[in-house]
């Protein structure tokens, strides 16, 4: 008997509220810290207070004798644990051996030296103070340019030049372009070190079930499967004897796209004490010992013709790597090189990177990872060029954009831009903000001695990272869809989304493809014992690649559903839509529920068809995707104090088709917040001795809600041809588009003073000094 219930409502493209939010808002989500186990022990890590020192001796007796302490381990105990892995490979890359605990030397403040394990976290913390480490303090270097100078202290004694690698890439004929140029603009600029600052710090619970040779590792990560593969290697444990569970993740932003010493160390401890052990990173440790972002000094040269045509770009990047390579550390600046032409047509580019060791925490992927730096660079340079030529910054951009009929477009850096209409979001943003009127207003404001600026940034970015040859560990993604006997649908995604909203968007895709309701679909992620191997969520890839794997798995299932439906309806001429298979001749239909039941009951099977409804797909993308957009910032500056007030923030983003525009806007908002953080407030400051000066939230200024401007979101839609969903990705767009728009706006405001460039963050004091000096 056919049911009459049909599901005709569709969800893709609608502003569906996030299904993950109720548990987050009501405080009932489970984070690593919430995991309780009988016999839980607690670990506290003793860390170096020095940026560079030899370890003469470590005395642990007193700590071992302290109440509640069951063990203290030092670098001697963990020597056989494999090194913290670097997944990036570059020709000639120098890779220091990165022990999980320091052996004879420490290289940065916060370097782990010993681990104290006790029955209670307070006792463990007290005992940590009793570990006596005798250091022979050495000179340190914390600034990458100083580290390159002759006579600088060597971070790693075996490499006195502090150079981990150099990298060169060139396209076209740069020398010719510069020879033919009417003018060349040059600028040194920095993209300062930043703290990713997830609300939830890192944390690990490790449980060793000795009798089963089974290690369960609960960790706050973006990449559970990769953590399993790599930590199992570090511990010399068979990969299938290890389970990694990623419960709720309270923010990653790239900082949890990594494998950290503490993950292997807790596995080591659990296997030693045969009891579960928990380590929760303190906020202070998060500042010191979770990767930092950015850390660029860039030297730009742009050659152009008098009419504004950009002929070529030269870029030298000095990348502050820190003391070690974390998972992707040396690869991050190479993403900047790929992105260096931005949205512009020039075919002549030359880039050189010097990767520099410093006595600091390693840098690695932070929201945008290399792309905000590149966009900041080119978008500042285009403004400098416009200023030099007395051209309007919008006009010079429109003049140099890759044309909308030129896609797919091969860039000078070897990328193939998939699709685009770069003028569209810029024109839309100009219209929304009322550009011509604002320019008129600015003329009047200047007459009255007011400082008002309008800043434009038109960004492109590399999303859906990425095809496997372009990544160290595989760039595909996986999905499994199971339709249960009752007709309910379970999706297992290898992408491990952790707050981005795919529990909602993947349910939307699934509901539409199968013609079921949103509540019929459950999305599961983050447990290697349940979910098939996957890569993870980073590089704005989860929907574009993971969503596509899901889409193809759904197509497989739809074909199978049709076969069962045809069998049950005894007709070959059937259609599957709105959750039922219908015979086109008789109009009779079978619901998904009936078909699912029949497929598992298996009294009868269609020819060459197995029982059950389950499909798994691993989808390898043929290319990256390339979203783009235009952000415009209108700022007013208090000339007396240098305070910047953002009056308008217009963001027009094109991320291809949108599964859920509400979530797209949310991603842009979050991205812009972090972009504003870099542009206006945030900076990691190490002093000359390698001490972290901005090591607390009292000193390091992350934007709070009340510091945010109103963001006017809009979109253009240029579908990607790379995947059947036509989606591109939007996780990092806000951050990438933001900082140059802000800085361009403030430089524009101060341009009557002859100001051409200001390095971030744009602190009020910097601005005041420019105004006071100029007056």
């Amino acid at each position: 008997m056919a049911t009459t219930m049909t599901q005709t409502e569709t969800f893709v493209g609608k502003r569906v509220r996030r299904r993950e939010d109720p548990r987050l808002i009501t405080g009932t989500a489970t984070y690593v810290e919430d995991i309780q186990m009988p016999g839980m022990h607690y670990a506290v890590i003793v860390r170096s207070p020095h940026a560079a020192a030899r370890i003469r001796s470590i005395k642990t007796k007193q700590a071992e004798a302290a109440p509640g302490v069951v063990a203290v381990y030092t670098g001697k105990d963990t020597e056989r644990v494999g090194p913290v892995p670097c997944g990036a490979s570059l020709p000639g890359l120098r890779v220091p051996h990165h022990h999980v605990l320091a052996t004879d030397r420490v290289y940065f403040v916060g370097h782990p030296v010993a681990v104290v394990v006790a029955t209670d976290r307070y006792l463990a913390r007290d005992a940590a103070d009793l570990v006596e480490v005798d250091y022979d303090v050495l000179p340190a270097v914390a600034d990458p340019e100083k580290a390159l100078a002759k006579g600088a202290p060597a971070v790693h004694p075996e490499w006195p030049d502090n150079t981990a690698f150099t990298f060169h890439q060139e396209g076209g004929d740069v020398d010719k372009a510069f020879a033919e140029a009417d003018l060349v603009v040059k600028q040194r600029m920095t993209s300062q070190r930043l703290i990713p600052m997830a609300l939830e710090t890192r944390g690990v619970v490790a449980e060793w079930r000795g009798a089963d040779r089974q290690l369960n590792l609960y960790t706050s990560t973006q990449i559970p499967h990769l953590v399993r593969t790599l930590v199992a290697q570090m511990l010399s444990l068979e990969e299938n004897r290890m389970r990694v569970v990623t419960p709720e993740v309270g923010g990653g932003f790239g900082s949890k796209l990594n494998v950290y010493a503490e993950e292997a160390l807790m596995g080591f401890v659990a296997m030693k004490i045969n009891k579960p052990v928990k380590w929760i990173e303190s906020r202070r440790e998060n500042f010191l010992c979770t990767i930092h972002g950015r850390g660029h000094v860039d030297y730009y040269e742009v050659a152009a013709k008098r009419d504004g045509t950009i002929l070529g770009i030269k870029l030298k990047i000095i990348q502050d790597l820190g003391a070690y390579h974390q998972l992707l550390t040396p690869a991050i600046p190479t993403l900047s090189v790929l992105m260096m032409p931005g949205l512009y047509k020039t075919k002549n580019v030359r880039a050189d990177i010097v990767g520099v060791f410093t006595n600091c925490m390693p840098t690695d992927a932070y929201r945008g990872a290399g792309r905000p730096e590149a966009t900041h660079g080119i978008e500042r340079m285009v403004d400098l060029l416009a200023d030099e030529l007395k051209m309007d910054p919008a006009e010079i951009r429109l003049k140099n954009f890759v044309g909308k009929d030129e896609f797919p477009y091969a860039t000078a850096t070897g990328l193939m831009y998939d699709s685009g209409d770069y003028a569209a979001p810029l024109k839309k943003a100009l219209e929304i903000v009322g550009y011509q009127k604002l320019r008129q207003e600015q003329i009047e404001a200047r007459k009255q001695g007011k400082w008002m600026g309008i800043g434009i940034s038109t960004y492109g970015e590399i999303c859906a990272i990425g095809p496997s040859p372009a990544t160290p560990a595989g760039g595909w993604e996986s999905a499994t869809v199971k339709i249960e006997p009752s007709g309910k649908v379970t999706v297992m995604t290898g992408a491990c989304p952790h707050g981005q909203g795919e529990e909602t968007t993947f349910a939307q895709i699934t509901a539409d493809e199968l013609g079921v309701g949103l509540d019929d679909v459950l999305v599961i992620r983050g447990d290697t014992a349940i979910v098939q191997y996957g890569i993870g969520t980073f590089g704005s890839r989860a929907t574009a690649i993971g969503g596509t794997a899901l889409y193809f798995a759904l197509q497989d299932l739809k074909a199978k559903i049709k076969k069962f439906g045809a069998m049950l309806l005894e007709s070959e001429d059937v259609t599957f839509s709105a959750g039922q298979v219908t015979c086109n001749r008789t109009g009779k239909s079978k619901s998904l529920q009936e078909i699912a039941g029949a497929s598992y009951r298996a009294l009868k099977l269609p020819p060459e068809t197995e029982p059950g409804l389950l499909a798994t797909r691993f989808w390898e993308p043929p290319n990256f995707t390339f979203p783009f957009g235009a952000h415009i910032v209108v700022s007013d500056i208090d000339g007396e104090t240098g305070q910047i007030k953002i009056r308008r923030y217009v963001a027009v983003d094109d991320c291809g088709n949108m599964i859920n525009p509400l979530l797209v806007d949310g991603q842009v908002h979050g991205g812009v917040a972090q972009g504003l953080g870099q542009a206006l407030w945030e900076q990691v400051v190490y002093d000359d001795n390698g001490q972290l000066v901005t090591g607390e939230l009292m000193d390091y200024a992350v934007p709070r809600a009340h510091m945010m401007p109103w963001i006017e979101n809009d979109h253009t839609t240029t579908p990607s041809p790379v995947n059947p969903l036509g989606v591109k990705g939007v996780g990092e767009a806000g951050t990438i588009g933001c900082s140059p728009a802000v800085v361009n706006s403030v430089v524009d405001a101060l341009s009557p003073l002859g100001v051409r460039h200001i390095d971030m963050p744009l602190t009020p004091e910097k601005i005041w000094k420019l105004i006071a000096g100029g007056n």
Binding site: E640, D699, T763, P764
Partner: protein
């Protein structure tokens, strides 16, 4: 971020609390400064006496033309107090400029004042208001003027085992306008510089000016020279500018990552002018 072991007592009466303090315990009020210091192990008191729960220190009262604010009154309570908003709006305005909502809900006036952070907001207002502080120990009960209370950064006239019992401020006389102007520290929300101004007009002339300065140096102070420069004047923009220019004269200004000494001095002048201008406008 785990403190060292400590004893914790939440006494029911002030006398009980004072006895514990006399025995060497450390007072805890809202915990907005002490608890973070303990978590960073920069402070390690062996015994905390929680004054925050003492009902007899939480009040805002008017007696004989003065306002009495119990030490454990929170910033939020001060900010939203109808009596204070009407009769001592400077204190309410200053409380509203402290940190963020969470801090204002937990932090107390007594705790903040006793901690004497050189970037705290209240000291500016207390200087401008010529406030008095009632201090209490197990065997002592005394009144100290705000001008004498703040000695240096994190150093006050409080004797060991003494606590602030209440803060005493005047009921603002008719014809008085007040304003608190600050530059927010982008990370901490503290004042990079904060200026509290009181201006009283009589028969068209400025009869009284009080200017309290915080954040500029290790000690909050009254900018007496600037006050004098404006008293007896009409309050023109130039007169205000000239007076404001004197607020940082001869002061040893602090310097840190967020603001150099030079910038702080400049901010003090700018905010003094703004505070005086606003206060003057509010005299009407």
């Amino acid at each position: 971020m785990i403190p060292q072991k400590f004893e914790y007592t939440a006494p029911k009466t002030l006398d009980e609390a004072l006895l514990l303090l006399a025995a060497g315990a450390k007072p805890l009020a809202g915990g907005m400064s002490l608890i973070p210091m303990m978590k960073l192990r920069l402070a390690a008191p062996e015994h905390l006496v929680d004054l925050g729960k003492l009902k007899d220190l939480n009040y805002i009262r008017e007696t004989d033309g003065t306002l009495h604010i119990g030490a454990t009154t929170t910033h939020a309570e001060i900010e939203s107090s109808p009596i204070l908003r009407k009769k001592c709006p400077l204190l309410a305005e200053t409380a509203a400029a402290i940190g963020d909502v969470q801090v204002r809900n937990m932090g107390t006036i007594g705790g903040s004042v006793a901690h004497a952070d050189p970037a705290a907001d209240y000291p500016a207002a207390l200087q401008a208001l010529e406030a008095k502080l009632a201090l209490k120990g197990a065997k002592s009960d005394r009144i100290v003027a705000a001008a004498d209370f703040f000695v240096d950064a994190f150093t006050t006239a409080l004797q060991p085992n003494e606590i602030i019992r209440e803060v005493i401020v005047p009921v603002e006389a008719a014809g008085t306008g007040t304003s608190y102007q600050k530059m927010f520290h982008p990370a901490s929300g503290f004042a990079i510089v904060g200026i509290a101004a009181r201006v009283r007009k009589k028969a068209g002339n400025i009869a009284l000016v009080r200017i309290g300065v915080t954040g500029l140096s290790n000690r909050p102070y009254r900018a007496a020279t600037a006050e004098k420069a404006l008293e007896g004047k009409l309050g023109s923009a130039t007169e205000i500018q000239n007076a404001a220019a004197l607020v940082a004269k001869g002061v040893d200004a602090n310097s840190d990552l967020h603001a150099s000494a030079e910038y702080r001095r400049h901010l003090a002048v700018v905010h003094a002018a703004r505070a005086l201008m606003t206060a003057l406008a509010r005299t009407a």
